[in-house]
């Protein structure tokens, strides 16, 4: 038996679609004034009725297929009845019996490959956004913005197959990766992904940590929870089954007075929506599925003959993979893989940028210059950094910074000068002292302001000495 057992309920916003789940309000509400993307339906006004967005059902099927799920023959929506200030109707339209998909799996790569079972995937509507003045437990009132209300959510529920906070994070990264490949999800938007995590230690009760809203948060919240539970056990205190709230700012989980329990939700089929049979759509949707990360990774290794590691990094984001293929079409694939996966990706991460911040054309130009030995590797890195920090074109930067490699005539001249100016070193060299050669190389580099190719300098010095 594992020491730590973790199961996740991941809520992802299908925010790449145009309109909300049950109404025509736009999904592009992020960074807008509160309550400007609402209508009678998503405000839960009396008399308003939901009508299901077809594209969201299709997107849900896409995701479910990518997660290797079985798609339901017939599916329908239920009402989950509970009260909370962010819930405009006093119930959430969700799925219960007959969810759209069940029994999937997702392979994650950590230390070796691990298969995580997906229990179910279902659709539901997002509640509104609550804003508090100060911490939730001290705020005198709540402010409510319904722009988020009715956003399409997909809830992906795993079996308790995850063995560590790190694995939980790997799972989320992989899930996000797939969702972005399917073009239904933009993970960079606020509130795009929210996680409830169930966690228990061997011999202890299970707690549910709610309200985790970032990838990093998952690992932190779960690590905190493990330490908390271990401490309790060590002191002989029983871990109680409860719901805890993750406080992102403080990095702790706090016990929340329990709201309704599962048995209090009074699920029943939503009478305002009719059932839908989607089975006959599945084949068609499957045909249109794009190449998914695992398949792409395998193809990269095979087709471009690059390392498994590079392929993994390059396919970890769709944008990065496409970037690589663009570049690899024009320059050597191995060269491209190294420079994109190792150098460029590192520079982007350092600046918290994504691949859209860099043009594949520029990468091609830089790699061409390297291939033709017009710049040094060091120079190439400098070009990349300058492009990211200041912009411009590679050619301009090379010119401005004088990064163009000096040609052999100039180096030869500098070599002659260095030999003439340092007779002692020449003597030492002939006496077999290797350091003397290093010294002379250094002198030549100094004369060429570091732009000479060290290999060429070495070669010429040996010849002339």
């Amino acid at each position: 038996m594992k020491d730590v057992i973790i199961g996740l309920e991941v809520h992802v916003q299908l925010n790449k679609l145009n309109s909300k789940l049950f109404c025509g309000c736009s999904t592009k509400y992020h960074d807008s004034e509160p309550n400007t993307y609402t209508c009678p339906v998503c405000l839960g006004l009396p008399g308003a009725l939901p009508v299901l967005n077809r594209a969201i059902v299709e997107a849900a099927i896409k995701v479910a297929l990518a997660l290797n799920c079985e798609i339901a023959e017939q599916t329908l929506f239920y009402r989950k009845n509970y009260y909370y200030p962010d819930l405009p109707k006093g119930f959430q339209i969700s799925q219960y019996d007959y969810p759209i998909a069940t029994n999937g799996k997702l392979v994650i790569e950590g230390d070796g490959e691990r298969q995580i079972r997906i229990k179910r995937v279902h659709m539901e509507e997002d509640p509104a956004r609550l804003v508090h003045k100060g911490p939730i437990e001290r705020s005198k009132y709540s402010l409510i913005d319904y722009n988020r209300s009715g956003m399409p959510l997909l809830e992906v529920v795993t079996e308790p197959d995850l063995g560590s906070p790190k694995e939980a994070r790997q799972f989320l990264n992989k899930l996000r990766n797939i969702l972005e490949y399917l073009d239904v999800f933009d993970g960079s938007l606020e509130g795009a992904l929210r996680v409830d995590a169930n966690i228990s230690l061997a011999g202890g009760a299970r707690t549910e940590v709610k309200n985790i809203s970032s990838y990093k948060g998952v690992e932190k919240a779960l690590s905190f929870e493990i330490v908390r539970q271990k401490n309790l056990m060590r002191r002989g205190i029983k871990v109680v089954q409860e719901t805890r709230h993750y406080d992102e700012a403080r990095g702790v989980t706090i016990s929340l007075r329990t709201k309704e329990e599962e048995k209090d939700y009074r699920y029943f089929p939503e009478p305002d929506l009719v059932p839908f049979k989607v089975k006959d759509k599945v084949a068609e949707i499957r045909k249109c599925l794009p190449e998914l990360p695992d398949a792409k990774r395998r193809r990269f290794v095979k087709r471009y003959n690059i390392s498994e590691h590079h392929a993994k990094v390059l396919t970890s984001e769709l944008g990065l993979a496409n970037f690589f293929e663009n570049v690899a079409a024009k320059v050597g694939a191995n060269q491209a893989a190294t420079w994109i996966a190792d150098v460029l990706k590192g520079e982007l991460n350092y600046r918290d940028l994504d691949i859209s911040a860099f043009s594949p054309e520029h990468m091609i130009q830089i790699l061409h210059m390297l291939e033709e030995k017009n710049i040094t590797e060091k120079g190439a890195v400098q070009v990349i950094r300058t492009l990211l920090d200041k912009g411009g074109t590679p050619a301009e930067i090379v010119k401005q910074k004088g990064l163009l490699k000096v040609d052999e005539d100039v180096i030869a001249k500098a070599v002659d000068e260095a030999i003439k100016e340092n007779p002692a070193a020449v003597k030492d060299y002939h006496a077999g002292k290797n350091e003397a050669l290093h010294f002379l190389v250094g002198q030549v580099m100094k004369k060429t302001s570091g732009k000479a190719d060290p290999n060429v300098v070495n070669k010429l010095l040996r010849e002339k000495l």
Partner: protein, 92 residues
């Protein structure tokens, strides 16, 4: 038979605060109505439940954006509001 305590719990689930007299009265009334509902205990039909009487399936709308309401109209009915937000009660 449901008890006064059951009525209290149902009141909590339904978010309706009940006075003591109401709890008493509803316990009696609810029991007599539930007694009547027990008529259904007489049968155990082996048929599918009718959730939707029309039998219609697959009703969708296209993923097209429609204009939302003006913020002014949205907030016009709000008993309490602040800076474009609805003002709700505190959580804890």
């Amino acid at each position: 038979m449901i008890t006064k305590k059951d009525v209290e719990h149902i009141g909590w689930l339904a978010r309706i605060k009940l006075s003591d007299e109401e709890k008493e009265e509803f316990t009696t009334q609810l029991n007599s109505i539930l007694d009547y509902f027990a008529k259904l205990d007489e049968i155990d039909p082996n048929v599918a439940p009718t959730h939707h009487v029309s039998g219609v399936v697959n009703v969708f709308r296209d993923d097209a954006v429609k204009e939302s309401l003006d913020q002014k109209d949205v907030l016009q009915n709000a008993p309490k509001k602040e800076e474009g937000f609805f003002k709700g009660p505190r959580i804890v």
